[in-house]
């Protein structure tokens, strides 16, 4: 089934795909919901065409998926770490083999350019390899106790974990969550964003082909209601969620009822601080990397760009020049660098922020408008020209709220003390960046910024080896890195007495 969709991808063109296959997956195969009701259209962002009518999963479907996941978990958790690793490495290999076709399908559903999507798929199989490598190394501790007893700890899986993905990195997020979960011996039921349902089911098929027990990685499609069913289901041990802060709060509330573990990767309004002693060329490149990947729809983007006053004119000149030159267009073309935003409402929302910014006194140096590419088939697409806002102030809406679009807000600053205070003055805390040549400043600033990641002299060069996650309302828990193992397993301490019990009574 997957072969039929993926194999058509080599000839794929923007504006041609229609998907009729069922996109749910459990018990080892694609599944249709019981009733074809409450269908919502899924759009191709580059054209505005309908790709698929998505019927959400209801209570029965969610329960069926979770039951199949549970029986898979019972088998999978009995395997040794090395045996799980072997299967995961095979899944990584298959993904790598099919990377171009998967990337194209991702582009058609998400709207990001093919160059980026290929990187996303590469990150996905690298993540699988990383956690496959850890599967065989999970150790506990041995602790000597006084008087002839000792304790040891075992790391055990949680059971069935739920993953709820976002629309900006559909395929990658399904792996970021499933790889550590599976490495630890868990099963996962994954719910993609209803706007981007196409590629997670490909991952489910690849896992099956690699040899996981049927049901180990399930996909249930749907929106808020389906998500809610997952959060309330008694057999779900843990929820890992990527999305907005308001939804994250709801997830926490719902999970509280079952005392379920939760990790949240939410939004951000991350600061990028550019000091006058930076390498200006790199700082400009960094600002672009921090704002314009995936049409600006990236949680950790450095969307508040603080530039030290002395270098503001040369910085702006260069950054505006390069922003204007960004090739916006058909995302399936190799030469495109920015595709379409995920949906009409998201596009309108981003445009609304620009309008509001202008009202509040910001100056649009370039972009910030709906963009109609010359290719006629793209005329219904949700394109926006990337925007640089000058003359911004800390109290503007565009500076305080997450826009989730290609809008860079530039703000001047004078001193280090001042800019750090302003950078931290937000309820978010996902990422941050600093450009400076000075060794003391670089590390001093990194120490003082209240964010889960601090980039020095680069931005958004994330890697699976390093932990990623937020401070404050940007979330808690971590993804990537070794530490994520702690979020997908539980610790049992076993105490062994080698002598007698104290005759206390």
């Amino acid at each position: 089934m997957a072969q039929s969709i993926l194999s058509t991808m080599s000839r794929a063109l923007t504006g041609t795909l229609v998907v009729t296959e069922p996109l749910n997956f459990w018990a080892g195969k694609r599944m249709k919901p019981r009733e074809e009701k409450n269908a919502e259209p899924v759009f191709e962002p580059a054209t505005g065409r309908v790709l698929h009518q998505l019927v959400p999963c209801g209570a029965e479907e969610v329960d069926e998926a979770i039951q199949s996941a549970h029986s898979a978990y019972l088998k999978w958790s009995k395997l040794s770490g090395m045996e799980r690793a072997r299967v995961m490495l095979e899944a990584a290999r298959i993904t790598r083999e099919r990377r171009e076709d998967i990337a194209k399908l991702e582009v058609i559903n998400n709207g990001k350019c093919i160059t980026e999507a290929l990187v996303d798929i590469d990150v996905a199989w690298q993540t699988m390899e990383f956690y496959a490598g850890m599967a065989g190394t999970l150790t506990g501790q041995h602790i000597q106790l006084p008087g002839g007893a000792f304790a040891y700890s075992r790391r055990e899986p949680l059971g069935v974990c739920a993953g709820i993905g976002a629309f900006n990195y559909p395929f990658q997020i399904s792996v970021t969550k499933s790889a550590p979960a599976l490495a630890c011996g868990n099963a996962m039921v994954f719910k993609p964003s209803p706007m981007t349902p196409l590629t997670a089911v490909i991952m489910a098929e690849i896992y099956k082909e690699a040899g996981v027990p049927d049901g180990l990685f399930c996909v249930v499609q749907g929106g808020a209601e389906t998500g809610s069913l997952l959060c309330h289901h008694p057999k779900i041990a843990k929820i890992s969620f990527t999305g907005s802060v308001p939804t994250g709060k709801k997830i926490m509330e719902m999970s509280a009822k079952g005392v379920k573990q939760v990790t949240l990767e939410l939004g951000g309004k991350s600061p990028l601080i550019i000091f006058k002693d930076c390498d200006l060329e790199n700082a400009v490149r960094g600002a672009l990397m921090a704002n314009f990947l995936t049409q600006g729809q990236v949680c950790c983007n450095g969307t508040r760009v603080f530039v030290q006053r002395e270098i503001m004119p040369p910085f702006l000149e260069e950054v505006v020049k390069r922003t204007k030159a960004i090739a916006v267009g058909d995302p399936l073309l190799d030469s495109t660098r920015m595709g379409a935003m995920i949906s009409k409402p998201q596009l309108d929302k981003a445009l609304g922020f620009v309008t509001q910014a202008k009202k509040e006194g910001a100056k649009v140096l370039c972009g910030g408008e709906a963009f109609v590419p010359s290719d006629p088939k793209l005329k219904g697409g949700y394109f926006m020209s990337p925007c640089v806002l000058d003359n911004c102030r800390d109290d503007m809406t565009c500076v305080k709220e997450e826009i989730f679009g290609p809008v860079m807000s530039v703000l001047p600053f004078d001193s280090e003390e001042e800019v750090i205070q302003r950078a931290n003055n937000t309820t978010y805390g996902l990422a941050s960046g600093v450009f400076t040549r000075d060794i003391s400043r670089a590390h001093r600033v990194a120490e003082r910024l209240e964010a889960g990641t601090c980039f020095i002299n680069n931005y958004n060069n994330n890697a699976v080896e390093m932990p990623f996650g937020g401070y404050k309302m940007s979330g808690f828990g971590r993804e990537n890195g070794q530490v994520t193992i702690e979020y997908y397993s539980q610790l049992k301490t076993v105490v062994v007495e080698l002598g007698d019990v104290e005759n206390h009574f």
């Binding site: 045996e83 999970l138 150790t139 506990g140 041995h142 000597q144 040891y152 000075d438 670089a442 002299n457």
Partner: protein, 404 residues
């Protein structure tokens, strides 16, 4: 404390100030650090549920640890070995340098007072060739921790080889300082004078080769020599002195011979030996004193730039590129420590990662987190000591598999 300070200064020649600031407090801290860190080590446990097996590791003391410590930081380096050895459950036979045995002897009385059971810490006093040799070749001493010269280490390795002993060898260094034009010059000079001349240059971590980026070379040389001249040498009990006496007549002659060699090779001696007169009080006139000596115009292949001098002598040379500085910095058979001076974040990390040294300090010197591994690369030694590393060195690990 004060008795120890006075005794160490008198026995070794270092200033009372240095003994008070460094030697004796560190000796006490060594015991405190290892007493605490031994509470926090855990070993591993892995499960093989599919085979019904549980694996875990335990670490056990080895038995009698043989410890040999040098004359430059006598009590400091002796306690750095004794503390982790006994903290992990071993007993100890230690041989301090025959040149500096006083504080070791005084420590024995304190051990008794502290309640260390008799036989746990044993100190034998004598020479390397007799007492040291007997310890190293003893079949019931499975482990030797030695700090001293590379030449003696070779002897120890040969003598202990038939018994497959575990060895931790902390040897010499020929440590470079690499100074870029964007360094904070004032801070750099102040610290590099300290790193060159502290304890009369008798620390394995002392800077003995200074490479300076050409554009600031003349300015650096001038300011460094002026600062070196302010580093006073004289009666160790005088608190205004930075340096006291070198350890012995023989050692003083050896260090002087390197300066003479440099001179014979056409190098320039800017200050110190043979250039400046040391004004010593009458009682100290036959002591083993030498003023801080700065040499330039010396070739990288000179013995003066290749061999450890272990005295208050340092050489300064210019360099042009980062790559050149790395190659020349690494161009000796030693690899103990190095310092890098630059304010550029990229450069500092790059240099630190490229230098072949067990310890790299950037924009500082001798900052010690006792948790981290301490030791040298290449001919500067074998093995590491420090929180976890000493724990691993002074114990044997056993892997246990329980099939259930």
């Amino acid at each position: 404390m004060e008795e120890f300070i006075q005794a160490e200064s008198k026995d070794q020649g270092k200033t009372v100030t240095f003994a008070r600031a460094v030697d004796i407090p560190r000796s006490a801290q060594n015991f405190r650090f290892f007493a605490s860190s031994v509470l926090h080590h855990t070993t591993e446990c892995s499960q093989m549920d599919h085979m019904g097996c549980l694996n875990y590791t335990v670490r056990c003391p080895v038995g009698v640890a043989g410890l040999i410590s040098p004359w430059n930081l006598p009590l400091y380096l002796l306690t750095w070995k004794i503390a982790p050895a006994i903290a992990t459950g071993n007993t100890v036979v230690a041989k301090p340098s025959e040149m500096t045995s006083v504080t070791a002897w005084m420590m024995c009385k304190l051990m008794e007072e502290a309640g260390v059971p008799p036989g746990v810490v044993n100190i034998v006093f004598g020479t390397g060739s007799r007492a040291g040799d007997a310890l190293v070749a003893h079949p019931d001493v499975p482990l030797i921790s030695f700090t001293g010269s590379t030449a003696t280490a070779q002897r120890i390795t040969e003598r202990s080889a038939p018994y497959c002993k575990k060895l931790s060898l902390e040897l010499g260094g020929k440590n470079p300082a690499i100074i870029f034009a964007d360094a904070d010059l004032e801070q750099c000079i102040e610290t590099t004078v300290r790193s060159s001349f502290s304890n009369q240059g008798e620390i394995c971590l002392c800077t003995s080769r200074i490479y300076v980026e050409r554009s600031i070379y003349s300015e650096f040389l001038e300011k460094f020599v002026a600062a070196a001249r302010k580093w006073k040498t004289g009666d160790p009990s005088d608190p205004s002195n930075h340096n006291g006496a070198l350890i012995s007549k023989e050692h003083l002659e050896k260090v002087r011979s390197f300066v003479a060699l440099a001179k014979s090779e056409g190098a320039v001696i800017h200050c110190g030996e043979g250039v400046d007169h040391l004004d010593l009080p009458e009682p100290n006139k036959s002591g083993y004193f030498m003023p801080p000596t700065v040499i330039s115009g010396i070739s990288d292949c000179s013995r003066v730039m290749q061999e450890e001098i272990f005295g208050p002598v340092t050489c300064i040379c210019p360099f042009d590129t980062e790559d050149e500085a790395v190659v020349r910095g690494n161009g000796v058979r030693y690899g103990l420590s190095a310092t890098v001076w630059s304010r550029d974040v990229g450069r500092v990390h790059r240099l630190a990662q490229r230098l072949q040294a067990g310890l790299v300090w950037t924009n500082c010197w001798l900052v010690r987190d006792l948790n981290l591994p301490f030791g040298g690369m290449k001919h500067s030694g074998v093995g590491r000591e420090g929180g976890k590393d000493s724990y691993h060195f002074f114990t044997e690990v056993k892997s246990i598999t329980i099939k259930h």
